[in-house]
């Protein structure tokens, strides 16, 4: 245990005294989590509502696709996004490869399936009569969507938490599209990889790991509270 204890003793002061590198990585990570989740919500919520409420052909196929996209390996997303963003790629003129913006794009794509797949699941979990009754009473499309959102809010919130969790812990896509550049577009998770693999700087890796664990625990705590309030609702998330 001597080794672990020594490393911990070296790591804790870094956190307590607010080491500037660790603070900046934490700030970048929080920014990525907020921006990417917000973008994923802006894009995904309307799609999720349409799948959950709509009565159009191909709705089931869309839902299967949304569920399947949860299984998309981040490595693939990273490679796909990078090939689009490289100078010779389709969006190369934006010149955002290996920048924080590229990380936002990749993380948004990875967070999107959570919102698109879990929102309809939450809506379909509502009492079946509710939405139909509102329809029969003449609610318009917007009113219907707002009603469904309000009633399924716990499920939607859980989807948001899952999306945030994935943006916090994803590394593969972040490393590929961002290049894992220190003090620029590193997140807590990708910083751990570079501190261990490139620098063998264990105290820093451990300190960053403790911060990441704290953030994840906060999310798990939120999810637990939500699930207890929702009774039977069980949503899990895994990210990496």
């Amino acid at each position: 245990m001597g080794y672990l204890w020594d490393q911990l003793r070296a790591a804790l002061p870094l956190i307590i005294h607010g080491n500037s590198y660790i603070l900046s990585v934490t700030a970048v990570t929080l920014r990525v989590a907020v921006v990417s989740t917000a973008c994923a919500l802006a894009i995904g919520l309307p799609i999720g509502l349409a799948i959950g409420l709509g009565r159009f052909r191909g709705r089931r196929a869309l839902q299967i696709l949304a569920n399947a996209s949860l299984a998309l390996p981040p490595v693939l997303v990273g490679i796909g996004v990078l090939l689009l963003l490289l100078p010779e790629g389709a969006f190369g003129s934006l010149r955002i490869e290996f920048t924080l913006q590229a990380v936002y794009v990749a993380q948004t794509i990875l967070a999107l399936p959570y919102i698109v797949a879990l929102t309809p699941a939450a809506i379909q979990g509502l009492p079946p009569g509710l939405v139909n009754q509102a329809r029969a009473l003449g609610a318009g499309r917007v009113q219907l969507a707002l009603l469904a959102l309000r009633e399924a809010r716990i499920g939607v919130l859980a989807a948001v938490i899952a999306a945030v969790g994935s943006t916090l812990s994803e590394v593969a896509a972040v490393i590929i599209v961002g290049g894992n550049i220190q003090n620029h577009d590193q997140t807590l998770a990708s910083a751990i990889v570079s501190q261990v693999d490139a620098f063998n700087n264990v105290p820093y890796a451990l300190a960053i790991g403790i911060v990441l664990l704290a953030l994840i625990l906060v999310l798990i705590g939120l999810l637990t509270v939500l699930q207890q309030r929702a009774g039977g609702l069980h949503l899990r998330f895994r990210a990496g």
Binding site: P73, V75, R236
Partner: protein
């Protein structure tokens, strides 16, 4: 799009002509998926059964832990394993870091929460009367376990598929403890990450295509299993 087409034109022949690096990486990946998942099942199914069936104190806490385990970033699991296995630490004498064996271990550790949490969920999803009736009719612990496993088999198979998927696409843990050594202990996912970082995009795309085929096969199997089991819907996400 031109870049993607160009890379594909180089990548596809690598697959069709059976590039030796690609084949050996594929073989290693399949071995890791099979053995790590088998190990995770050996540990996880009994735990999941105990959680799903048992009526002991602390069961709720254990259940919470299993679900929370699903949310722990693979990078953190990799970091903890690294801290235990590094020379000078508790298990440093084993000399496992940067070997092939450590990749199996890391992926098995990551797969265990899937098996435990999803097996327990599948068993809890069984009709309430079934197991109580079996107990009332005098079934012993073993018989009740076997009955529960047989009745919840769709959910258990889904758990195994989710675990397989995780071992296929996680990279966060294995690059930390395995070091992502070219042609030695790389999986398709970590190999693709490596090639993308080395700017050998055609190789990254080739590995990525093979990985997607494996994932699609798993998704198809999951879809077929769930279709036959109707009602049970498990989603999974695996990441790197």
């Amino acid at each position: 799009m031109r870049l993607i087409v160009d890379e594909l034109r180089v990548a596809l022949p690598l697959i069709f002509h059976g590039d030796p690096y690609l084949l050996s990486t594929l073989w290693f990946t399949v071995q890791v998926a099979a053995i790590s998942t088998a190990a995770a099942c050996a540990i996880g199914v009994p735990l999941g059964l105990a959680l799903g069936l048992g009526r002991f104190r602390g069961r709720r806490t254990l259940h919470w832990l299993a679900n929370a385990g699903l949310a722990v970033p693979p990078v953190l699991v990799g970091l903890w394993l690294f801290l235990l296995l590094t020379p000078g630490s508790v298990l440093g004498g084993l000399g496992l870091l940067a070997t092939r064996r450590v990749v199996f271990i890391a992926q098995a550790v990551l797969a265990v929460p899937y098996v435990v949490a999803l097996t327990a969920a599948a068993i809890q999803g069984l009709g309430g009367g079934l197991l109580s009736q079996a107990r009332a009719l005098g079934a012993g612990r073993r018989q009740v376990s076997l009955l529960a496993l047989r009745e919840a088999r769709v959910g258990v198979i889904a758990a195994v598929i989710a675990a397989l998927g995780a071992t296929l696409s996680e990279v966060g843990a294995i690059i930390i403890v395995g070091g992502n050594v070219y042609g030695y202990n790389q999986t398709l996912a970590s190999g693709a990450l490596y090639e993308a970082q080395a700017a050998r995009y055609a190789d990254a795309v080739a590995l990525g295509i093979v990985l997607s085929v494996l994932i699609l096969v798993l998704l198809g199997t999951l879809g077929a299993v769930q279709h036959r089991g109707r009602g049970i819907r498990l989603r999974f996400r695996w990441t790197g």
